[in-house]
Amino acid sequence: MAEFFQQIWDSFFQTSSESPGAIAYLVAAVIHCVLIIHVVAVGALIFIWMERKISGRIQDRLGPTRVGGAFGWLQTLADGIKLIAKEDITPKDADAMLFKAAPYVGFAASYCAYIALPFSDGWVAQHMNTAVFFILAVLGIEVFSPILAGYASGSKWSLFGAMREAAQVVSYEVPLGMCVVVPCMICGTLNLVTIGNMQAGSFTNWLAFNDPFTFIVACVYFTCATASVNRAPFDLAEAESELVAGFHTEYSGLRWSFFFMAEYGSMFLVSGLAAILFFGGWHGPIPIAEPIAGVLSLVVEPLLNFGRYVVGFVVGDLGQVTEGVVATQIANLMGCLNFLVKGTIGVTVMMWVRWTLPRLRIDQVMTTCLKYCVPIAAFGFLGALVWQVNDLPTSNDMPVIGKNRFEVRESWVYQAEKELRTTSGDQKSSPDDQQPPFDPHQATGSTELVPQGAFVMKGGAR
């Protein structure tokens, strides 16, 4: 993205430098930050409204109907204004510094994890090779928010909530990690953009339908994700019938709302991660985005070229839009919508579950994790592994998955043979010598999969 702004900068001020300049980086970074914070904050706004409407419909009532029109669109905004206006109370017995800092820790972690979450092909703030791992790691940090809040509040109920949260989240990270490993193993990469692109095409290419085991793993993932973001029936840390309100008992006003923004942010995050890892990411169930985008670009591209032509009178000739860029970006935009819809469906399922099921007890939550989720996830992992190793038929018709796995495996064999030859001193050629040396940089297979037209953060800030 920095290069893109550099282009703009160059085109306006007739400068040109080898690498993108400081301004370009700054602008790109600010835009990324603003976009992501809107996903978290506005997302929370919408999801809280959705939760009210959905819970209302589930419970045979209407939910908000007044603020901002018939559907109560602005109810959350009104609540937000109320929360801002509310007095921010710090209890006498609280550790004031930690008490005040705790909500921001959770929000920052939830927000931070979005850095690595792609919204469409290449539409990601930081294109990371270890995106999956990064997101899990940052989500793991979020647990400090309830722990610190619970401990610093100086209330016994808060402390109970904090202990429950810590025990629960740390336990559920284990099966969650196991589930996440399965798509990474099949695709041979931790790069979310690559994993998403490996599911292009129709819905049969989605990794959840790759083989029976991945489907099991997808279900376990969703269960564990629900638990790790503390949603019912695993919302023990804030169980209102037992612990008053759990770790946020003593909070009020804006600080309290930060906990909720973090919660809804993580809900969408884990749902989006599920969408990318198991349900095709930004690819719709039927591959119609690109033809439509192609048709649309026939209209949009001349318009853009005309715009550039007009602006060119003022700042100098800008030239034409690169061929194919518009179609790619329109397809990406549709993919982004696809992804948002999938993530929202995941969030909706979580809400549906919350308003239907009773809450589990703490020992049952741990039992669910250690006696059910972990073994099932391990079983699914092993099954998927066996399926892949034996090249059993999958519904996925993308050749790249097989190819990628092949490359990694072949390189292993190649390397082992090379070492053997070195040891035995046998320098003579063997039939395998025709095989080209393995290039480790191609092993993740990501470079060839990012469409050439995408100018968004392909290799970005380095």
Binding site: F13, A22, D95, F144, A166, V170, W412, T444
Partner: protein, 207 residues
């Protein structure tokens, strides 16, 4: 052009300074705080910032690992320990000023020694002439790390034969297995040790 040049400073250096100051600052905060829970909080921030330094040095995987295992795992364990052993709320244990003086003098001496050593070697001091030119592919170390753990050094393929690729000693397969078993044994042992036994008669203080 002039404007651009004025802004064209080294972002790498900027973020290094940012994370380095956070790391060191919170590490010192750990040292000078007496409240154990706040110490843990500062430690989280310090280690989190040092994960930022890892990312900055191109070690994405290690940085994420630091966040996941260290910050998300070890420190949660530590806070558990704090909660389990806190007799009164917000425990504070004072250190005598004599100990402080001793420790700071020795620490200062050690710091002086290390800082001197840090700038001793010219090659360490100069830095990379153009870090922006390091290829993106160079930063993709995750596969290489994974292969390294399974005993295959894909990053050393172009090294002259015999120089590093001695069979069985070039990869990290054996250490990886050992450390896995070690971790398992340690966790089982720690769980056994924490689950202690005590005399039934002495309900109060210690056996």
């Amino acid at each position: 052009m002039m404007l651009l040049a004025a802004f064209d400073f080294d972002w790498h250096a900027f973020f290094f300074m940012f994370f380095a100051l956070l790391t060191c600052g919170f590490a010192l905060a750990v040292l000078f705080t007496s409240n154990i829970v706040r110490m843990a909080f500062y430690l989280i921030l310090s280690l989190g910032a040092s994960a930022g330094l890892f990312f900055l040095a191109g070690a994405e995987f290690v940085g994420a690992m630091q966040l996941m295992i260290y910050v998300g795992g070890t420190l949660v364990l530590l806070i558990f320990g704090v909660m389990l052993t806190a007799q009164s709320r917000f425990v504070t244990m004072k250190t005598s000023s004599g100990e402080w003086v001793m420790a700071l003098v020795l620490g200062g001496a050690l710091l002086f020694l290390l800082l001197t050593a840090a700038f001793r070697v010219g090659d360490w001091r100069t830095g990379h002439p153009n870090p922006a030119n390091v290829g993106l592919a160079e930063s993709k170390t995750t596969t290489q790390i994974g292969m390294g753990f399974t005993g295959v050094r894909v990053d050393k393929l172009d090294a002259p034969e015999g120089s590093t690729l001695v069979s069985g000693m070039s990869g990290y397969l054996l250490p990886f297995v050992i450390v896995s078993v070690h971790l398992l044994v340690v966790l089982v042992g720690a769980a056994y040790m924490a689950r202690t036994k005590r005399r039934a008669s002495s309900a109060g203080v210690g056996a």
